[in-house]
Amino acid sequence: MTVLKMAWRNLGRNRRRTALTAVTVMVVVLLLIFMQSYIHGILGQTFDLSARLLTGHLKIYATGYGGREALLPTDVGVPHSAAVARAVAAVPGVAAVGRRIRFFTMAQHDDRDEFPVLFGIEPGPERQILQLDRALARGRYFGDGRREAILGVGLAQKLGLIRSPADPFVPGSAKINLLAPRGIPMTFTVVGLARFGFAALDDRAMFVRFTDAQYAADLDPDDMATEVVVMLEDRDRSLPLLASVRAAAGRAAGAGAIEVVPWQAQGWLYNMAKTARAAFGVILFILFFIAASTVINTMMMAVLERTRELGMLLALGMKAREVVGLVLAEAVAIGAAGGVAGAALGIALGLVLERTGIPLGDSMKGLPIPVGDTIRIDFLWWYAPLGLGFGIAMTTLASLWPALKASRLAPTEALRTV
């Protein structure tokens, strides 16, 4: 107890130094909490968007489709897709299932033509998955009419439906001629324009009803879909649920007809995220190093400054162990004070930014993965104790050397120093 009391008194002896060291620890803890929330936020948001728009949490497609997905072939498909979707939807842990058909097509309006990706989607289930109904910039969602289409804003501009993104647009005022793979020309009425803030969809996607796409690509005889997108209640359960979804889909489609791929195995996003987390580790290490050198410096000063005093304590019979404890207690107190302040600031910043988000404008729209126009940072409560723990541990570790040095003083020598 005496040691703790002495440590506490020592803190007040050089207040400014104590404050500076505490501020260092505070900044480190704050930075740590913020960076974790930021990385967790941006990755989570990108994972969610990417799953909704592109990969699902699990994607079912016909055997052999996987290697050729870049070409969006329509010569293979998931057969009996309605039955597959029903069977998969019944698997516990599955939140939503949407059948999709995607293929490249030629779209024509007046004297302009483009080669967009045609998305055949089911209007009902996709309200939960693609959420196209919430991405509408103009017009309306699919209604009762036949052969309705919703175009990405950029595609509509390329096709001359609007001159600029701000132009008014009347639903049903434009027709698009489609030259589908089976060769039958089809005409669609454009009822809405969509903006996802993601160029791959905004500039290149045309959405129609699943059944229309099925007809256009001649996939209706076996009720085929080119892919069935499965959303889970928890994206981290994609691997445990893989087998049951595969079994359910296999029973409905015929064994061997389909394969199921988790979102982690589609594209490079997940690997990239792993690298980002590793980079975070490196940054953490550098932070540790820089902050620790400040703490070492301070504590070393504190020890050197008090050489005589420590020598006196040793001469009067204080044990080396107790001297180590004294110096460490001082350090832990500084670390705790700075850490608590940093954690408090980190919580405040986290809660504010979680609400407001960090606006990016449209600087991210050209990326091949959807990031969105605002980064919602994601603050988890345990980041605060983690940061605090890191701060205290760092301070303690950095003080070990000065503390050991202090305890090894020879009393007689120490007393002789000025």
Partner: protein, 413 residues
Amino acid sequence: MFLARLALRNVFRNRRRSVITLLAIGTGIFTLVLTMGLTNGYGRQAELNLIDLEYGHLEIFRAGYYEDKLAGLEDAIAAPAAVEAAARALPDVAAVAERLSVASLLHFQGDEMPALAVGIDPVADNQVFRLQPSIVAGRWFTDGAEGLIGDRMAKTLGIKPGDVLIWQARARGGPDAAPIQAVEVTVVGILSTGDPALDGTILFVPLAFARESLLAGPRATVLAVRLRDPDRLDGAAAALAAAIGPDYEVKTWRELGRDFLQLYQVKRAGNFIMVLVFLALVSVGIVNTMLMATYERQREIGMFLALGMARREVRRLFLLEGAFLGMWGAVAGVALSSPLVWLLQVYGLPIAWISGGKDVDIGFPIRGVMYGELSAGLVIEALALGVILATAASLWPAWRVSRLEPTAALRRV
């Protein structure tokens, strides 16, 4: 000089403390040089790709063509020869190449994929762009029904040099008069440029063949210009716009590559802020060290003041000590980091290594290998930042110590 010697000696008086401070500054500067070296490197690489592979320095369109996001052949430049002549007459212009681009669909063995077909002059194009050196298989084309594609597209479609694909696009003349043209094109060469858009989505065909297939007459959708002096970009753009008149518009590669440049600026600013936060932490450490030193040496300073040293000089002494620490720390940081950046500049960092073996398209006109850039500017910036930060961090301790009362200071232990 005397002050400098004194400051130097003082730095060595407490070697351990100085070493720890140096380590902190060095780590900060090391991080700065490494992070910014890599960031600047890929920025520069990407800019070169934009100029040499995608846009040239300037591009000329018919007025409205660019804002309308690529219209049909009707909106192309009808008489490019006259515009080209006007451009060539300008002293800034080194070369001009006509190009004819059209949205297309490619078919190969039952697969199809959309692509941009670009008609280029097999000879003139090389004076503006650097495509020919990027051929990795087969050969450059001359004329006729020959095509070049990027290695990414070749891999997607499974095409080798010598294979024949079908190029489908709409010819000029409105929906009724213009049939969809589908012509056979023999792929004679594969390009690997390091630009994902170019390697994955473009079919190059000879300009004359494109004009003939699309019934385009002498039309060109764009004239790409290479300048004699790349730094004269805006001046040259203005002069060119004035020379060719209001029927046409001139865009610089910076305007054309706006999306990427914006993304890059956000990324660069983010990296720089992160490094600055590191350096701010380092500064706190320096303030700490200097403050310690002032306490330790109160008697000594009191003695100086009593012996008649001006307060200004005492201040300067401490600032100099800070500057020395900053300089050596920065030198150490630069010395350790620049070989690494140099290695990154020479050998590069394979992107596949970052992404776990997959070919990544991160929205940058770069793929394959990312290179660092070790520039004199960066080294100077790092050294200056080290010295300035350390000196600035010494300001407060120096000011404090210069205000000591000699008599009071001398009395202290």
